[in-house]
């Protein structure tokens, strides 16, 4: 009888010891910090990749970042954000701007040793033009292409229907919106009927670029191996790993302990990392704006009004007053901790040659109040103005993204500012999908909105054209805020054919001025991108030099990952930690053994009762 009780105790003890043993082994088996590996490895945060490295269908930013590093393009964006020669050594444009002739770099080879020629480029572009699946990700970019042909192995001729101003951007690797990747014809030819199949993703991927995708685990990581012979200059690191962290806090924890070399950080995290001597934080000029869009009378393509937007917002005086009532500088200071640019421009300054509006709108609540007084909206006893015609209060809904802390923070300032000029705002937090649904149906007064643009703003500007309005049945729209202005549309069409960069920029400036004065999207600010880098392990990571405010120009994964260099690591620190770890493991094991002994004794005592 006593035996069985002891057996139980022994079993429990054995279980406990084996758990501890596994834990202890895990401790000893623990790989030291990544950079102590004999092959140098750069580990970066994979922000949002879905492990869909399909060059035809992938559209997620994180996936495109990897694709642009493993497949080549005709050009790439250099550190000045301008297209530079990549596969194409040089190019010429015909006088009518309709024919582009690219000279392809000779004697290049795909990673499997097959020659990489103009024929691969022609095949890729032709497939995007003719195959629906191939067009998933980049179809819109070739919409104006008439024909693509490789006249020999080093010559690629692209003929277009109209002059295509952004030809070199459409084909540029790197940057915020990587252009069209060229893929090996001999690999993909057999899959043309099912380009999207899961089976098309094979590692190592056959491609060409500074890196080769050699391993990935769904939702965990992707490993890229350096192509040291890359003809534009091979990477300094041997390996690049994108590791996925799902919360910013976990990523920063990994950064602090050197498990991660590069991570995006929030303003609050940046402040907390200031004292960490191993980590340097950088701020990069942002290209994503936060704005409040105003429904000033949504209508369909044919001009039929839709939605339940408040008709008072059609009055330009009210919209102007709202704009004057916003203190953008305070928002940057308070919400972004100073890490951003207060701007009302629809495009970021770094891509518009620092465009400034003709007459800048600055925070002026007195003027806002005066405008509303003059427009005939008297304040009531509660301080809220009323429209004498309809008898309705100036009370508007503001839709916020319920998962965005930034929306809520901005609203905390915006609501009292509006109250100050006699306008009542009621907040309506909504899920991302509900907000977008309401947007499309025009069931809103005001909404928070975010958009970003790269150096080629064609797409972002296209969201403000009449063509994006929905049909009369409310379908087929892709509008941002139901903006429609024929003059803006005319300029949009003009810029898309202006092959001369300077002329095109002048047109952009005119378009920006139009949106600034009568747009329905009140841009608030551009938040800087903040990143933390373990500079005790990595050097030469950033490209370009800082401006007067200490901000770097936009970074570019095509360049960053190549210029980054490992710092020689002193191995002593790792050893110290290892020894401390061993000591702790020993203490734990001894302590556990003691506990087990006590427990056994107790159960024997039980048995004697």
């Amino acid at each position: 009888m006593a035996g069985s009780s002891r057996r139980l105790a022994r079993r429990v003890g054995a279980a406990a010891v084996s758990v501890l043993l596994v834990g202890g082994l895990a401790l000893f088996g623990q790989a030291p910090a990544a950079s102590a590996d004999s092959a140098s490895t750069l580990i970066v945060q994979g922000a949002s990749f879905k492990n869909n490295f399909n060059p035809w269908t992938s559209y997620v930013q994180g996936d495109k970042e990897i694709i642009t590093n493993i497949y080549p393009s005709l050009t790439y964006l250099n550190d000045k954000q301008k297209p530079a020669p990549y596969l194409a050594d040089s190019w010429t444009t015909s006088s009518d701007g309709l024919t582009w002739t690219f000279k392809i770099h000779p004697d290049l080879k795909w990673s499997d040793g097959q020659p990489l020629t103009a024929k691969d480029a022609a095949w890729t572009l032709n497939l995007i033009m003719t195959n629906k699946t191939a067009a998933t990700s980049n179809g819109a970019l070739v919409a104006q292409f008439a024909s693509v042909e490789a006249t020999d192995d080093t010559t690629l001729v692209i003929k277009t229907k109209v002059p295509v101003a952004d030809m070199l951007y459409l084909n540029a690797a790197g940057g915020a919106q990587p252009g069209i990747p060229i893929v090996p014809q001999h690999i993909w030819e057999k899959d043309v009927n099912d380009l999207a199949a899961d089976s098309t993703l094979v590692v190592p991927t056959v491609g060409y670029g500074p890196w080769t995708l050699t391993d990935y685990k769904a939702n965990q990581y992707a490993t890229l191996t350096a192509n040291k012979d890359f003809f534009l200059g091979g990477p300094k690191y041997d390996k690049l790993i994108y590791q996925q962290y799902n919360t910013p806090d976990a990523a920063v924890a990994a950064l602090r302990s050197g498990q991660l070399n590069v991570a995006l950080v929030t303003p609050a995290q940046r402040a907390s990392l200031k004292d960490d001597k191993d980590i340097t934080t950088y701020s990069v000029l942002g290209s994503l704006f936060l704005s409040i869009e105003i429904n000033r009378g949504a209508a369909t393509k044919s001009g039929k009004p839709i939605g339940d937007g408040n008709p008072l917002l059609k009055d330009p005086a009210i919209r102007q007053a709202i704009n004057l009532g916003i203190d953008r500088d305070t928002l940057v200071q308070k919400v972004l901790d100073g890490q951003g640019v207060a701007s009302g421009a629809f495009l970021p300054q770094q891509y518009t040659d620092d465009w400034q509006p003709e007459e800048k709108i600055t925070f002026d609540p007195d003027k806002a109040n005066k405008i509303l007084d003059d427009a005939g909206y008297p304040k009531g006893a509660d301080g809220i103005r009323t429209d004498p015609k309809s008898g309705k209060k100036l009370s508007f809904r503001l839709g916020t993204h319920s998962d965005s802390a930034q929306d809520a923070q901005v609203a905390e300032y915006f609501v009292p500012w509006m109250k100050n000029i006699g306008i009542e705002i009621s907040l309506e937090p909504m899920s991302f999908s509900l907000l977008n649904e309401n947007l499309a149906k025009a069931n809103w007064d005001m909404l928070f909105d975010r958009w970003g643009s790269g150096p080629n703003p064609t797409y972002l500007l296209s969201t403000q054209t009449c063509a994006t309005l929905p049909d009369d049945d409310g379908q087929n729209g892709n509008t941002d805020s139901f903006y429609c202005n024929p003059e803006f549309d005319r300029l949009f069409a003009l810029q898309s054919t202006q092959v001369d960069a300077q002329q095109r920029m002048d047109t952009f400036h005119k378009m920006l001025q139009i949106l600034y004065t009568d747009g329905n999207n009140l841009i608030l600010f551009y938040a800087n991108g903040l990143s933390g880098v373990t500079t005790n392990q990595v050097k030469n990571f950033m490209i370009g030099s800082t401006d007067s405010a200490g901000n770097y120009p936009p970074q570019n994964v095509f360049l960053n990952w190549r210029t980054a260099e490992p710092v020689a690591v002193e191995s002593s620190s790792t050893n110290v930690w290892l020894i401390v770890g061993i000591i702790i493991a020993v203490v734990v094991v001894v302590g556990a053994a003691g506990t087990i002994l006590v427990l056994r004794k107790r159960s024997t005592a039980d048995a004697k009762e």
Partner: protein, 351 residues
């Protein structure tokens, strides 16, 4: 057979006229069939409810997917068609049913991969994490519950019940973050011991013993988090049902027979107190594949919970529907098993 029916046989006065299967601890074919049919019925009802709920979710996935991406109007229309958004709801329902029963679950909108493949790659990590956590949580909870319930009010009882309930009320997210900061970054003289996330270190050889140790190393923190916040339910249910048994006469009888205290506890009290615990354990096992969305997200554990988290924003309906089918199916299957096991364990349950 004789052994299994002798208790009931004595109750029935030894009458052989009663079919043994109805009286014994065995599961009759008819009962099994009824339970299975009932389970299939609940599964079908769940499918209908699930489909209706997902259809009510406000979404224009075509627009959400193509946002911030250059697309032509024609492409948008094609995308809507590809996603089946242009079809009447009844057609979509039958396609959903078809996808469910063929097991491929359609094609994920967000990941552009088959949902079946995504689930297949995520279910392993989830079962590993949840399996380890549940096993430890059950063993620890039951063991502590037995010790606490046998001597309620003792120091042991007060200490462990108090600890368990405290941890139970701690938000999982917060506890996870705390463990992450303490053990992954290191605090003061404490070095970093465990990795901050993921399931394996890409720099470690992905095969053999090194890989197993690496995964075990990554498993510790998420597993610890889950055990800490869940073992209380096992402890409390075991403790309270054991306390209920304490005053019973059969225990006094057992003692009178000369059995020692631990024998009385182990042989008589615990088996009788186990039944409520079995229910709770099976509910937990049924929920296993559901993963732990919060824990998996905090520790970037690549399981089903994380998959759901990633699919919600668009919302990626085929992915959500596919995981929903897996979750509800597993709960139903394990409830069925629990029902059947009850009959084996407890002669009083006769269906």
């Amino acid at each position: 057979m004789a052994a299994s029916i002798n208790d009931d046989a004595s109750l029935a006065g030894g009458a052989i006229t009663v079919p043994p299967a109805r009286r014994g601890r065995r599961i009759s074919g008819g009962y099994l069939l009824r339970r299975v049919l009932l389970a299939i019925e609940s599964f079908l009802v769940t499918l209908v409810i699930g489909f209706i709920v997902f259809s009510l979710v406000p979404s224009d996935p075509a627009q959400a997917l193509s946002r911030a991406q250059a697309v032509t109007a024609q492409q948008m229309a094609d995308l809507r068609k590809d996603l089946g958004l242009d079809q009447p709801i009844i057609v979509r329902f039958f396609r959903f049913l078809g996808n469910t029963f063929t097991g491929n679950f359609g094609y994920s909108w967000e990941f552009r991969q088959s949902v079946g493949g995504l689930i297949a790659s995520a279910i392993g990590p989830t079962l590993l994490l949840m399996g380890c956590a549940t096993l430890i949580s059950v063993l620890l909870g039951l063991w502590l519950g037995v010790r606490s319930g046998w001597k309620p009010g003792s120091k042991f009882d007060r200490f462990f019940t108090g600890t368990a309930v405290t941890l139970w009320s701690v938000p999982t997210f917060w506890l996870g973050m705390m463990l992450l900061v303490v053990f992954s970054v290191g605090v003061g003289p404490l070095p970093r011991i465990f990795p901050a996330g993921g399931m394996s270190d890409p720099t470690v050889d992905p095969s053999g013993i090194a890989h197993i140790l690496d995964v075990a190393h990554h498993l510790v923190l998420p597993c610890l988090t889950l055990v800490a916040v869940t073992f209380a339910q096992n402890l409390m249910i075991m403790r309270s049902s054991l306390v209920d048994e304490l005053g019973n006469a059969y225990l006094t009888t057992a003692r009178a027979k000369g059995l020692r205290d631990s024998e009385v506890r182990r042989r008589h009290a615990v088996p009788n107190a186990m039944l409520p615990a079995i229910t709770v354990i099976f509910l937990q096992i049924g929920g296993l594949v559901g993963g732990a969305i919060v824990t998996e997200t905090v520790f970037s554990w690549p399981g089903l919970g994380l998959l759901v988290y990633n699919g919600i924003k668009i919302p990626d309906l085929p992915l959500l529907e596919g995981t929903f089918v897996i979750f509800s199916g597993s709960v139903i299957v394990f409830n069925l098993l629990a029902d059947l096991l009850y009959r084996v364990l407890d002669p009083r349950v006769k269906g």
